[in-house]
């Protein structure tokens, strides 16, 4: 009875428009409105300046919007944990925030063509010379972001260390945002953090002479946006926008402008095996 009540009350708050019966792209074009979710705490890709969400992703979103026929965009700023779950729950049409495909996520979600490629790096305080190779992380307190692809990488490093006979991390501390990991490292709450290379670059810009990259780890990380796997048309439209920008050289320009360096936007090979979007 309470469940029914809650359901009824919630139904009243659901915005107009059937959510699943109609194809999402069709509905966006018909209603002229798209809702996207962003975690605006991932400089230079998406972050807040003077109350606006700006960055590489904001420029990409503007291009995508243009290709959809200038639809109105409602952009929600969400914490990263739950952002993918919210997509599955149908609370928005698209996750327009940098997400790295990994096997766990690929079982449930569909990824766009990557718009940039970065690396996973281990960052330590500038004056710390004790970390030069992976095994130096044994016994250290390591931080990363809860629910991020770097959390998975950090867990992988820990397992690798233990498999090689080491003690592994003293502990893995997970924070709600990437900047939180930087604050934790700067204030000595952790010894090292596992983050993306562009994030590391931003931290070193924002707070010079504080951090350095001790080492990089694993395969390149592709940054993509995410749709529900059944929204194939929406995904294709997004891929077409990224392809147009890549082919015209505009994507490289955007990368130079926001990230400082250019990187690859591969047309294929960026999906983990068994990805749900590869199934017919």
């Amino acid at each position: 009875m309470i469940k029914t009540l809650i359901a009824l009350a919630l139904a009243g708050t659901v915005l107009a428009g059937p959510a699943f019966s109609q194809d999402t792209l069709e509905r966006i074009k018909a209603s002229g409105k798209m809702t996207v979710a962003t975690e605006a705490a991932f400089k230079p890709f998406e972050y807040v300046e003077d109350g606006e969400i700006v960055g590489f992703g904001a420029e990409l979103l503007a291009e995508f919007r243009k290709d959809l026929g200038d639809v109105e965009v409602e952009q929600l700023d969400l914490p990263f944990q739950g952002i993918l779950a919210g997509l599955a729950a149908g609370q928005y049409d698209l996750v327009a925030t940098s997400v790295a495909p990994n096997p766990e996520r690929a079982k449930t979600y569909a990824f766009s063509r990557p718009f940039a490629t970065i690396e996973n790096v281990v960052v330590v305080p500038l004056d710390d010379d004790s970390v030069t190779q992976l095994s130096d992380l044994n016994g250290l307190l390591v931080g990363s972001q809860l629910g991020s692809s770097t959390e998975a990488i950090a867990r992988e490093i820990d397992e690798t260390l233990k498999a090689e006979g080491g003690s592994g991390f003293e502990d893995l501390r997970l924070y709600q945002t990437f900047p939180d990991t930087a604050f934790a490292l700067r204030s000595g709450q952790v010894d090292a953090i596992v983050i993306g290379s562009t994030t590391a670059g931003e931290f070193m810009n924002a707070s010079p002479d504080t951090f350095k990259v001790a080492l990089s780890y694993g395969d390149p990380v592709y940054l993509t946006w995410v749709t529900r796997p059944e929204d194939r048309d929406l995904l294709a439209a997004l891929d077409a926008t990224i392809a147009r920008l890549a082919d015209s050289g505009q994507l490289s320009e955007m990368q130079k402008k926001w990230i400082g360096v250019t990187s690859e936007s591969p047309e294929s090979g960026y999906l983990p095996e068994g990805a749900v979007q590869l199934q017919p």
Binding site: M1, A7, L10, T13, F20, A40, P79, G90
Partner: protein, 221 residues
């Protein structure tokens, strides 16, 4: 002193967030007020399932942390029921309203229970109708309790409202975090936000106390 200057400089950056906090708490208070009356009516109803439903609902709200309630309503229930898109703002109003309504209904129930017994019987004996009894005899006695309770509810809701920063709403708390990420200063935006919360909640509390004294004097005099 430099710290104080930086805090003062940060305050204007947070006013957008403050406005959202005030708007959500205001709407939630109205919802809570409405709901508390419905709960009270349900608890006095002759229908057993309605009474039990109201009691169950109040227990649920008293036992569930607001954080978990908001996560359930925003992430959980839409996923379960395939509801599609829900607005974080209105989920915020709903969650705080449900919580505040349960809270307020308990306060009012306590106040009604403390009314001297036999009053409504005497009123009926004097030939007053049910509605008239409530309007002329009972409500004037409840008001001195109900109005401060309502103010108490507002303070309670403002203190719970930072939960909305966890689900996309750019309220005062979330706004201060955004400024932190921009300036790389973890402390100053938080102190500024704490200051604004203090002024907001403090003035509601002062207003409530003033109201209480005024109403009590009027009843006594």
């Amino acid at each position: 002193m430099a710290l104080a200057a930086r805090i003062v400089e940060t305050v204007p950056l947070l006013l957008d967030g403050l406005a959202i906090t005030v708007a959500i708490c205001g709407l939630a208070t109205l919802l809570g007020l409405l709901l508390s009356i419905l709960i009270l009516v349900a608890r006095r109803s002759g229908l057993r399932w309605l009474r039990w439903g109201a009691v169950g609902f109040v227990s649920l709200m008293r036992g569930l942390p607001i954080v978990v309630l908001v996560f359930l309503l925003y992430f959980g229930v839409p996923a379960l029921l395939d509801l599609g898109r829900v607005s974080a703002f209105w989920i915020g109003v709903l969650a705080l309203g449900l919580n505040g309504g349960a809270f307020l209904s308990e306060v009012l129930r306590g106040a009604i229970a403390r009314l001297p017994a036999g009053q409504s019987e005497s009123a009926l004996a004097l030939g007053l109708g049910r509605v008239q009894t409530w309007r002329l005899v009972l409500v004037p006695q409840l008001l001195p309790v109900a109005l401060p309770a309502l103010a108490g509810e507002v303070g309670f809701l403002i203190k719970a409202s930072p939960v909305l920063s966890l689900i996309t709403v750019v309220d005062l708390t979330r706004r201060s975090q955004q400024v932190t990420m921009q300036t790389f200063d973890p402390l100053v935006p938080l102190i500024a936000a704490a200051l604004l919360y203090f002024v907001l909640i403090g003035s509601v509390a002062l207003f409530s106390r003033w109201l209480e004294q005024r109403l009590q004097r009027r009843i006594a005099g």
